[in-house]
């Protein structure tokens, strides 16, 4: 996905997302889970691809997010579904830092 397809939106400040944690943010009607791993920020869909649950309520470990509802795990950097019951990958979104602002790139048709 190139920058021309997406529009970046400021969704949080760097102080709001702790290392190894996840935070729910929204751009328009898109709920996004924002993570900090080893100093870098990542964004995926917030809603689990298996059942309706907010991944921001889940558990972050070893670069993975575990859904709070049924325990499906996803790779935070790639969105890849790693364990049952999920079999569909999460969408990921590009993240940029400008000063203390965290910006997430969302396809223009969704923002």
């Amino acid at each position: 996905m190139s920058d021309t397809d997406v529009q970046f939106h400021a969704v949080a400040t760097t102080s709001e997302v702790d290392e190894g944690e996840v935070q729910q943010v929204s751009v328009g009607r898109t709920d996004i889970a924002l993570y900090k791993l080893d100093g870098d920020y990542y964004a995926t869909d917030d809603i689990c691809s298996h059942a309706y649950a907010s991944l921001a309520d889940g558990y972050v470990e070893n670069g993975q997010i575990e859904c709070p509802l049924h325990g499906a795990c996803f790779d935070i950097k790639t969105g890849k579904a790693l364990t049952a019951p999920a079999s569909v990958d999460l969408k990921t979104y590009p993240v940029k830092i400008e000063g203390d602002k965290i910006l997430v790139g969302v396809p223009t048709d969704k923002s």
Binding site: Y59, E66, G71, A84
Partner: protein
């Protein structure tokens, strides 16, 4: 023998059978996979049957794991509406209900469990239901639509979920429970009291220490006589008094059974070419240090996945902290562990606020916990339990400290 010329047969197309078959293919098995199920449906998950699907709020197709096209893609042969009637271990052959025989190289038993039948006179009347399968939910839906008071026999999870669903439609509901408390096998006395208040608060007439003497009606249920002698009107009765494992076919084949099919920590039965997973199995759990037979969504899925890998000779010991959930009214309940002999309890959050976790501690370690509207903290607690991490009770109770922080600092 080349992998591609082998046949693996899965008997039972529920949660365990579906995941077992899928896992074989996902992990590179190139041979023939045949999935046999006695219901006419594609593999589906059962939790919605007693909740949203019972009231028609969600469609039954939502409960299917995967659409039919997925089985085509995975090249899994489905034999639905067919049951296996015998296993000939010497011939490596299964006999099906139509008389057909099917050879296997390896076999996965995932026949699950069935509702325990109430031996009460009149329990065969129309309007007396058990709830386990899609057909049961459909039959109950019709009787729910017809209106009238309902009687729930058994104050366990199924009974309480059905009671909650019926109260959502303002149906008068009586729950009779033979024991002196609700969900006595699963929760502590204090939590049974909490459940009792929850249901009474929603208008359910809960009668403890009470059974049913007989059901009465002219072909169709009209009333029931309770153990105290009282007669109550009911147009619908739902019996949820536990399940029994479908282990007869295994027993007849001479496999070791004892409250289910006895397997090791990779789902192997006493026959090296026969495996078993799900509600059916009596299996060892290294984390709990005892054998268990679990009736749970997660175990059916994960034990089947672990067992399918063992069928491919790539198994790892399977052991997880048991996890269960239930939804009743606006309450999501989750439980971890099977606590036994805990020496103290500590609660995080205020039960009056409707969201809390109660931990059961044994020698300073979490032996189990129950969460009301707080599944997130329970997931952290489960990790603490898995890793035998000791956290001082006063820190567990302190909601100003995140559970995640308590876990990570140790």
């Amino acid at each position: 023998m080349a992998d591609s010329s082998r046949t693996f047969v899965v008997i039972g197309a529920g949660q365990a059978g579906g995941w077992g078959a899928r896992t074989l293919r996902d992990n590179g098995f190139e041979g023939r996979i045949v999935l046999i199920g006695d219901e006419p449906h594609l593999p589906y998950e059962r939790p919605p049957l007693s909740k949203s699907a019972l009231l028609g709020e969600t469609g039954l197709e939502d409960a299917l794991f995967w659409p039919r096209s997925e089985y085509d893609t995975l090249n899994i042969e489905l034999k639905l509406g067919v049951s296996a009637t015998a296993i000939d271990r010497a011939a490596h052959q299964v006999t099906l209900s139509g008389g057909e025989t099917l050879g296997y190289d390896r076999l996965l038993l995932a026949t699950g469990a069935r509702p325990r039948v109430l031996p009460t006179p009149g329990a065969d009347l129309d309007g007396v239901h058990y709830l386990r399968a899609i057909a049961d939910t459909l039959a109950m839906r019709d009787d729910i639509a017809a209106g009238g008071p309902a009687l729930v026999v058994g104050g366990g999870w199924i009974g309480l979920e059905v009671a909650a669903a019926l109260r959502k439609q303002d149906r008068p509901v009586i729950v009779v429970e033979f024991a002196d408390r609700l969900c006595g096998r699963a929760v502590t006395p204090a939590f049974s009291d909490w459940l009792l208040e929850l249901h009474r608060g929603h208008g359910v007439d809960v009668r403890l220490n009470t059974g049913v003497e007989r059901f009465e009606g002219d072909g169709r249920l009209a009333r029931a006589v309770l153990s105290g002698g009282e007669t109550v009107d009911c147009a619908l009765a739902v019996v949820g008094i536990g399940v029994v494992p479908n282990s007869e076919i295994a027993e007849a084949a001479g496999l070791k059974t004892d409250n289910g099919v006895v397997v090791d920590d990779q789902g192997r039965t006493s026959d090296p070419d026969i495996f078993a997973a799900g509600d059916l199995t009596n299996h060892p759990n290294a984390l709990l240090d005892r054998r268990v037979r679990l009736e749970s969504w997660e175990n059916a899925q994960n034990q089947a996945i672990a067992t399918a890998k063992a069928m491919l000779d790539a198994g790892q010991p399977y052991a997880e902290i048991p996890w269960f959930w239930s939804d009743q009214y606006d309450v999501n309940l989750q439980l971890i562990g099977l606590p036994q002999g805990w020496d103290s309890e500590v609660t995080r959050g205020d039960p009056a606020d409707g969201a809390f976790v109660t931990f059961y501690l044994k020698d300073g370690l979490i032996d189990g916990a129950v969460a009301v509207n707080n599944g997130r903290d329970l997931r952290f607690a489960r990790r603490m339990m898995q890793r035998a991490i000791k956290v001082p009770p006063e820190e567990l109770a302190d909601t100003s400290i995140k559970m995640q922080a308590l876990l990570k600092q140790r």
